[in-house]
Symmetry: C2
Subunit: 709 residues, 2 copies
């Protein structure tokens, strides 16, 4: 069930709110919420509902939802879990649009049944559920604090969606202390109905929201989420904090794709694919939110560091490299422009070092020069406490400079290092909304995040066209496998499927008599490999059923007889369906391409170099499907061992176009046929540019039932 952004407005801009389970005893959640709604300055209608009626916080309480004289847009439900269903029934019947279910005691303690019942009932009436197991929601545009968290939530332009209620409540306090104003904070709890995607659909269009911070513990409908993220990050930054990075969570699986997908890396890869900024810890996430929601959008990435201390300057250079902030490097221009404002011992290279001898006036000139230079797009201003500037002078200068250049689209970041006088200056600057930090690394990280966000926005949005694949043939192969009650494809079935998606495997023919061997071998081309075809012989090599490196008619005929002899010695009555003559594929660079149905994200695809690269170094790239041609190219470039494909030691460049094409084809079948749970080509040989690729071995697994749920 999808809800449009316009419908979602009733949750964030309701004309009326009812609190079911409103209470007049201050210890109760039903009191806290009602009190927060009343005192937050909400101008809509407020209804209190309590079976005992009476007056609650100055309102006449209704004993029953049905008694309310108008349809509330939102009902906040704060009654014991056992009573929630009946309340939902009442609300749905009364025409409530959104019920936010504060109560806990549902799927988080195993009571999934009750939760489903509630959602099912609500949906029949077109009512949507937020929660259960949440602390509520806050919406600054209508001054509505319908949470049991702190009363005062400063308004601003950052939206927070949190899966953890406890963390959300604490985060309200934290953002307030750090002067980060919120447009909204929403607890999604068990996500029985509404989830992050629905909320993003609203926030994307909400003019009051300039950045979204999401705290995620687990993902349900990853495919939908990806969609919402992609649509949102084109315009607004999304910062994600996801815990559970540790490796313990990696699952044991049959394929490499599966075992590697279990790790946190896939989440990371997909967030990058969606243009989401993933923060490592809470403070980093908050810093990014605060900074990016207010910073101007620069026209380029040429960054200049101005410093009055050499040490912090070098540290900033290191931090710029770490966080992907490119330093402007035209030494001659810099020297021309800045020699007037640097001292004898200073430096006009980037960082511009005006030295500890610099006065406030000189610092100001240096900043003026930097900010008026059209080739410089962003400035990092470092200060290391000296006796040359007082705390007042310093903060006055920074505030003035920050204001003076606010109309320009140039982000400035200030980093001030020192003792109590510096800390005082920092406090004053924070009051004035200046982006200021006390640690060099901490100050540069948000600028790096801003650049990453903008880079994503500049990526051309490509129309995704999957290569054509032979769906009819694929269906036939799957049907045969199903008929046989198997969940895996046999070698020849897998080869057929490969052909159906347009990928070449080794040429092969099955012969039934010795007379056919030479013709077949010559058609394929020497050298060839010969293998017995028999359902009675599983481990063909072990019984002498496979011979390699056969180079001429003589060897091929000999091999035929040898294989038959070996197999009959192994099992006298073995039914031999024939002998397969297979092209002996020349050596190339081995790669691996795998796709699978991920539990969280749906169809995903993996690429890496084969052998030890995947087994030992885990050097692979992941993407959610479908991928565009451009995205598939980026995937290939993402692996650490990419240079191997560019041709090392005078070797030729490998056929990267062939790899990209194979990625798109494997991706297409996995996305279009959800009952294919795993497909992995390993190895795929890649030859020199223009010479293509060849899938040597492929494993394909199917879901248990015909419909993959």
């Amino acid at each position: 069930m999808t809800t449009t952004s316009i419908q979602m407005r009733s949750l964030f801009q309701p004309e009326s709110v009812a609190v079911i389970g409103a209470s007049s005893s201050p210890g109760k959640i039903g009191y806290k919420i009602l009190n927060n709604i009343i005192s937050s300055g909400y101008q809509g209608k407020i209804f209190a509902v309590n079976p005992r009626g009476g007056e609650i916080l100055g309102l006449n309480a209704f004993t029953h939802v049905s008694d309310i004289d108008s349809q509330p847009d939102v009902a906040v439900v704060a009654v014991p879990a056992s009573r929630v269903f009946e309340v939902i029934v009442d609300c749905a019947r009364r025409g409530v649009k959104f019920a936010t279910v504060i109560s806990s005691g549902f799927s988080e303690v195993g009571n999934l049944e009750e939760e489903r019942k509630i959602v099912k009932y609500a949906r029949e009436y077109g009512m949507r559920i937020l929660g259960p197991n949440i602390f509520g929601h806050f919406s600054s545009v209508v001054s509505l604090n319908a949470t049991f968290g702190p009363r005062d939530i400063p308004s601003g332009n950052v939206a927070i969606i949190t899966q953890s209620g406890a963390l959300g409540v604490a985060m309200i306090g934290k953002t307030s202390v750090q002067k980060i104003g919120l447009s909204t904070i929403i607890s999604v709890g068990n996500k029985a109905d509404l989830d992050e995607s629905d909320l993003l659909d609203y926030l994307r269009d909400d003019p009051g929201t300039q950045a979204v911070l999401m705290y995620i513990e687990g993902i349900r409908d990853g495919g939908r989420l990806i969609n919402s993220l992609v649509k949102t990050t084109r315009d607004k930054p999304i910062i994600v904090l996801k815990s559970g990075r540790s490796k313990k969570g990696a699952i044991a699986a049959a394929s490499h794709t599966g075992s590697l997908a279990g790790s946190d890396d896939i989440f990371d890869a997909i967030m990058k694919q969606c243009g989401v900024l993933r923060a490592e810890n809470i403070q980093e996430a908050l810093n990014w939110c605060k900074y990016i929601s207010n910073a101007p959008r620069p026209s380029g990435e040429n960054t200049l560091i101005v410093t009055n201390g050499g040490g912090v300057g070098v540290m900033a250079t290191d931090a710029c490299e770490k966080f992907g902030v490119p330093l402007y490097e035209d030494k001659q221009r810099l020297s021309e422009e800045f020699s007037a404002v640097t001292h004898g011992f200073g430096s006009t290279k980037n960082p511009i070092d005006i030295t500890g001898e610099a006065s406030v006036g000189e610092y100001t000139s240096a900043l003026d020069t930097a900010l008026n230079d059209g080739k410089i797009h962003a400035v990092i201003a470092l200060y290391c406490e000296t006796a040359m500037m007082t705390s007042e002078e310093l903060s006055k200068m920074v505030i003035e400079q920050n204001q003076k250049y606010q109309h320009q689209k140039k982000p400035i970041i200030f980093s001030l290092f020192g003792g109590s006088l510096t800390e005082e200056a920092v406090s004053r600057l924070i009051e004035h909304q200046v982006p200021v930090y006390t640690e060099v690394y901490e100050s540069i990280s948000p600028l790096g995040a801003l650049f990453r966000f903008l880079r994503y926005g500049r990526k051309t949005e490509e129309f995704i066209r999957e290569p054509e694949i032979d769906s009819q043939l694929i269906k036939t192969v799957i049907a045969e496998t199903r008929k046989d009650n198997r969940q895996f494809l046999l070698a020849h079935e897998a080869q057929t499927l490969l052909r159906a998606i347009g990928l070449a495997g080794p040429n092969s023919r099955v012969v039934k008599t010795i007379g056919e061997t030479v013709d077949a071998a010559e058609e394929i081309g020497y050298p060839v490999v010969m293998k017995v075809v028999s359902r009675d012989i599983i481990h063909k090599s072990d019984v002498g059923g496979v011979l390699l490196n056969l180079e001429n008619p003589h060897e091929v005929m000999d091999a035929y007889q040898t294989i038959i002899h070996n197999c009959k010695s192994f099992r006298r009555n073995a039914i031999i369906d024939g002998i397969e003559i297979v092209e002996q594929v020349p050596k190339g660079t081995e790669v691996i391409i795998g796709a699978r149905q991920d539990k969280s994200f749906g169809p995903v695809i993996m690429f890496g170099l084969g052998g030890i690269y995947v087994e030992v170094l885990k050097d692979v790239a992941f993407r959610a499907l479908p991928v565009s041609h451009q995205e598939a190219q980026m995937m290939v470039r993402d692996i650490r061992s990419y240079t191997m494909l560019m041709g090392l030691r005078g070797e030729k460049r490998k056929d990267i176009d062939g790899i990209v094409d194979a990625i798109l084809r494997v991706g297409a079948v996995c996305r279009q046929f959800p009952e294919i749970t795993d497909i992995e080509i390993n190895p795929m040989m890649v030859y020199d540019q223009g010479s293509g690729v060849k899938a040597i071995d492929v494993r394909i697994l199917l879901s248990k039932s015909e419909r993959n749920t």
Copy 2:
């Protein structure tokens, strides 16, 4: 010139201090320093020296150093650079033990000459120089603030050595704000004479110092520094902050060892080898210092997380993995011990989640249980702001718990997340010296650093015994190369050197007639390779001077004639010294071992897997020489691709003992013969365990002059 720790005492605990260039105008550095010394409460004698005499800050100023009526232990020199030498002359003659030269204008602006002159003169009189170009030094044990930085420096147990004066001055303020007390802070500036090693020699024995923070920009005598670091970190943690990590600094060099050594990785590797904790940024360094200098030393690493919020609990688990903090995992014991103190929705797995419903009493019980459990060695206590505990209750509880268990050798770290009430609690706790943080990641990083420090201390100190090498033969080879005016060894010379250090290359013999070929080949064993030996033919392969894969007497004799023919066709008059018959070495796992004279650290050694591992993945390990047997083993284990050597896909384990032995031998020659600037074996074949290694190719370079300076 070495100075013992006892002699160094006069710098840190002087009985008298003279300020040369003392001034009575408050803007001057000579005023600031004298004023700081007087007002810091220093009890020794203080002399002011100024050519104009008079009274300065209540002291009768001497017009000349020679007028001072006793020998000052320390002279602080704050006169213009041009006058420093004459002052040094006076001080040295007057018997001053240490001159701290504040003045700048020396090697940092290219004036190395003057700096050397000063040191040379001082040394003749046994006087040592700190600086020049410094802000001075502070020593808490005698309450001496002989800096021009802030007046009040809180005393404590952290020593700071900084190469940057500006950063040092700012750091005084910063540590003060963060309640980090200092035992000393010393600016080393240009390190014309005294350097970090001398200071460490004192600090190692200083009972007032529990941790050393070093800010390093560049290293001069790396070998000596390594020595001092190793000796110090056995007992006291050293935290290093080194800027200049960025890759731009990497040097272009002939060998892989050289080009990889240019990067910051080598500094990093050697710091680890020395047991030094390298921080990434200033705040991390300060956090580690503060925490480790005060934390108890636990008897193990079993760590337990107690939390009242699930979200922060999971984040802490991630952070523990990142920072190397092992979580205690005996689920059954934890369940038995903690089920009484966790709520229904809580968890007795580590993290112990007592949920947001927990009261102060319940939090206290959980901590009691954890801290009284003999199997748990360290506790991380997380708090996510709830309405269940007031800020006062919380801080009271934390202070009490922290005190109650201070006698136990169990580190506790508190991490409190929330709004203004939580911040208030945090401030109170910091006043009470409780290790408390407001960010989960930030709180766990110091515990990880403590564990790393302690692990290093537990490492058995191994007596380093280098393998015996044939020094006489090595000298002969080098002498021959020198005689030829070459800085590189020819192939056969390099092979001789390899033999001299006890490493096997491919067997080979040079024959001069066709009659000798078969005997030689059979002695070596088929297959063999044959190569022309001729100084007239450089690119042997190109002219058909090399033939591979010769398997029998017939092929060997044919090859002899073919090679002679090919070479004569190429150049009719070429002098052919013979034909080399070389063992055709079987394929093994290719590794690379290189050693070189590093500009900063002296002899260093590198190990990695050959080919793309070193070229593309830069997967190598570095150590400073000499290395112990244990350290060489750790080096091999350090590379990411180590599992390759353990035997992949059913392969046998490779001969790691052989690799370790080769590392020690290459290390020995590079350390014992400094004129060998580069030695690189690439590739070295490693065979299955017990089957040894074989050096296939080796490049050896010599320094320009006979003595490597």
